[in-house]
Symmetry: D2
Subunit: 344 residues, 4 copies
């Protein structure tokens, strides 16, 4: 199946109103996974990492890139625990202009260094359409944050890049609106979109947001795109991350975005929700044990596999000998992990 | 630990304002499961069924008691699939007075008959304080519905019964408010309270309610009471029940309330969210396989164990030779189930 | 028009499912005020006070009846300021059982005394169906609180009384659900229902609830029943009551429920949102000046008109010489008010 | 008072974390209008139009610029009815990429033509930081839409322009977050910010959004900036615009944004919520009659006053002989309006 198949033509006849409506981007054949034509979309990164399908990927790392030392420490920790990607923000969307705004381009350089050191591909946020090219030279996956889910110029810009995009659901966005936002990226020709539930606004001050895990099965019925969950922002509380991460896996998620910080008490941003490396390692171990019960294989590419930096079209990405989840190469160089089912 | 220990005195000195505030019902020693004094509360029904602790219980059945035939068919189906309790409403809180309102007392009699036939204890809703005594003669667990979470005269009335109470969270209730509502029951001396998350109001019409699974780990940090989840009302859509049921288990729930109807297309109430017996059996099989991965034992009492009807103080309930999850007796009369881990 | 005309038959043929659906209580002819058959419902109390139509009524008083002295002081203050009814709770629905629960029946007796002293009819909450008869002997209007909007046995009970009912919208209730709840009362034969918007759950901790003033024009399009607004509970903050009271009038409300306390700092309940008498007097003066601009007449019955206590069917209520808004008798004994337009 | 006074220094000492928190942009002296130092901010446009203070301004026009004929017809209609500004979108943020996206720059040229024809200043949305300069050459007020309230690069860009900014509240934004977003603009040196409530996400499908009118008095207590309300987007229904517009005035708003379309049935965007010219004229007449009751003067500059196009710093704007609300010049050339109180 060409994913392009479920993306109708970009222009509208006559150039004005949509004659088909927002539902058009999901032809009937693809609306249900029970349909024989339905194929789940997989996204493959330049280093061979598979996202979607039967892969389960955990992207972990600090909320923000702060210092070289802290970033490398966090990156090594999450790599050692089995994360498949490194997350971390160089450009930070902060509620107040008086809060730490991220390091900007120097932060991107640090991420590239951490990626080289650990072999982990980078997922990092881009907020400004003018920054998209520079972020795309450093990142393997371009993240669109919750506040920018309906920043349409930005969506169009990342839609023109040869980089997968992780699109976070807005805190007040319906599922329909999330799918329509993804459509902005798809329409520009970028078919490698990963959706991410990260909590919606709720009325209970008990948690920072209300993590809508039901979005996972709903999205699975509505779109072939891979679906991630961010239990860190979705709860705002490190003590709630592990149960919600496990619940996300059970609900059918294809991966997680988890904040891990080498020293949460020093974090300039969202330290309250960051896991310590040891807690993350414990959670990762549990998730790896559980994933096969839900038909998922833990997906990562060990650091022995050289990661190709620089822009390369995701469409041309090759798996470089592995099977996309580290098994081909992993067998010959397994490192500390065995991604088979562990006895409970 | 006497659960009474965490219930302060009922009256206030002077009889007027609360000098301590709503937080008083959770003395510091019990606020965190990490505290060495913390003990999770278990509720044991008259037939020996254990709820809470390491037990995992599924209560299943139709939304409403409609006809004798449909009820018995549903009850037999859920018993055969391994449910631990039979749910079903004789008094139905319906948005409109023009909708089916339930059979009332004749419905209770049918529930008792279904209980006798299957050995399953009954959990059924009571809406009117004047009906509490009659419902208590038929039900093993008194259910307080979402709309009545803050019906304080009703809470007080069930607080005076020798019957466990399943208290559903209101659709706009905070966790604080749910705990304060439970306190109305506890204050009357009834310590056998089971809390139930069943979805809060959300803004997305995609689902009927927004199932707040994060309430499970939050409640686990705040109270020793057992915590159930109702994925049927929480989603309003049968196709979403299975993933959310599994996610609830993974999030740490002690049990589930699931709507199962022998013929959903004939249901007078909420047929859209009811599972068919075969789908429920498949889900139950999955849950039984998964429960041990989360430290839970599938809890039910096979029908060979006679179920004692009539009023009996839950406090005096005995486990009658079994270990509360059917293993003691289950071994000698296992029926079709083996509650050990199944190979994945 | 007989209001009974828009209430279909009570039972359903066959006694089971609703063949017409929740929309049935609004026959097409009444759906729009533009329809020539449409007539706005007015409710007339035993003392002649008119509610609805072109009348604008302010019910004011303390959240809870606390002491005789405080209640009488508050009652005299709101009467002097021109309130048309006295509000005050004897039975209080409190989130926690450890908070002040109201004085109960002795509180009702104090309300009756305050009513006799001021000539103001009483609107007070009833929470328990078993208390309805006793509350109805003291109250002119039975209030159903927000938490009980879907307490259906209670709705049915007040539907059988010869007393108007003020029905508050639940904090998570849609307009449809509010109308369906009102239908429970109407179905029992009580046509004198006043709806009240009092704030829904919002996500912003800035205010206690989110006052949905748009409910007023929406309800005006959907039902002929009078519509009140409670800006005190709706905001939870005395400093926001005046602007929201004025906005409610401008949005088309038929009346207000305002908390006024002789000494808010001593209040056992919700003191933060209570106006002081002087602030209420100022607001009342403003509202009386503004009401005619919105086609409303300030409605109250001066204390010279004896108020008949005891049960009397609202249907048999007479206006006793006045024109329902105090003008007939008011002319001969105007007191300090002139309910004509004041020059701006 | 220099508004700059309440904007702390832009950078943080040490360049990292905010030592004071989000509250810093409101020094204690300005937190309450009761403080003697408190002065409400007024924004004066290049044509002399005053916004804020005792002025009440209505910006009206179509949701989107569609054709020259429709735009001019709408503009003439709203000018004739007394609107103070012309609203209309050339760049439209649409949920789906398959909907009409606006005319872009040609739309801006049409707005400039409509402005020249009517004398009305233009308020129009800018979505892309790269478009800010071109939009600023056409618009008198730069609008930041709800979806972009936390598009921080865009906020910074408009903060660097010599043009007032109308900042709409996000559908899930708290008041705190709205103020912090405004701070991004203020920090760049642009002190001419107008806040706009336009509805937040609610759970009731009855209206498109839930218009939070209480945001008006809350904001008045928190900030000296002028506050507008958009009852068109806030309700999504033309039949609800008039009552909510009047309620907004009563709640203390400084102005309104109202969608008016010469032919709503032909609108490519949001026709359901657009008023017809005749309905707008009726509403405008009512609002002009009511405004003085709330201490407001209807503010507009008649077309006889030449409107200076092209970039000009708002700070250097002159009132050109009028008193900012059209009275100085209006007296000599009043047009059809008399902005004094009309008899009710």
């Amino acid at each position: 199946m060409s994913p392009r198949g479920w993306i109708p033509t970009k222009g509208m006849p006559g150039g004005s109103v949509d004659p088909v409506g927002a539902a058009a981007y999901r032809p009937p054949a693809l609306r249900s996974p029970r349909n024989p034509d339905f194929v789940r979309k997989t996204v493959t990164l330049a280093n061979g990492l598979q996202i979607g399908g039967d892969a389960f990927v955990v992207a972990a790392g600090p909320c923000a890139v702060e210092t070289r030392e802290l970033l490398l420490a966090s990156a090594e920790a999450v790599a050692a625990a089995g994360a498949g990607m490194l997350r971390g923000g160089a450009f930070k969307p902060r509620t107040s202009p008086r809060s730490f705004q991220g390091l900007g381009e120097p932060g991107l350089a640090l991420l590239t260094e951490a990626s080289a050191a650990t072999g982990l591909p980078i997922v990092t946020e881009v907020m400004d359409p003018r920054d998209v090219p520079v972020v795309a030279t450093h990142a393997s996956v371009l993240q669109i944050g919750s506040r920018n889910m309906q920043n349409f110029p930005l969506l169009r810009e990342v839609g023109r890049q040869a980089r997968p995009v992780l699109l976070k659901r807005g805190a007040a966005a319906t599922i329909e609106e999330l799918l329509a936002a993804a459509d902005y990226i798809l329409q520009e020709g970028n078919e490698n979109v990963i959706l991410c539930e990260r909590g919606v606004r709720g009325f209970d001050p008990q948690t920072r947001y209300l993590l809508d895990l039901c979005a996972v099965p709903v999205l699975r019925q509505r779109t072939p795109l891979p679906i991630f969950v961010d239990p860190s922002h979705g709860t705002g509380d490190a003590s709630l991350v592990a149960p919600m991460a496990k619940a996300a896996l059970a609900a059918g998620a294809d991966g997680l975005l988890i904040e891990v910080h080498a020293a949460p008490e020093l974090a300039l941003c969202d330290g309250k929700q960051a896991l310590r490396p040891a807690d993350f390692a414990e959670l990762a171990t549990e998730l790896r044990r559980l994933a096969p019960l839900y038909g998922k294989r833990w997906s990562r590419v060990p650091r022995e596999v050289s990661w190709r930096t620089g822009p390369s079209a995701p469409g041309s990405a090759v798996r470089e000998g592995g099977d996309g989840n580290g098994r081909g190469l992993g067998r010959s160089s397994p490192g500390p992990f065995d991604d088979e089912v562990m006895a409970p």
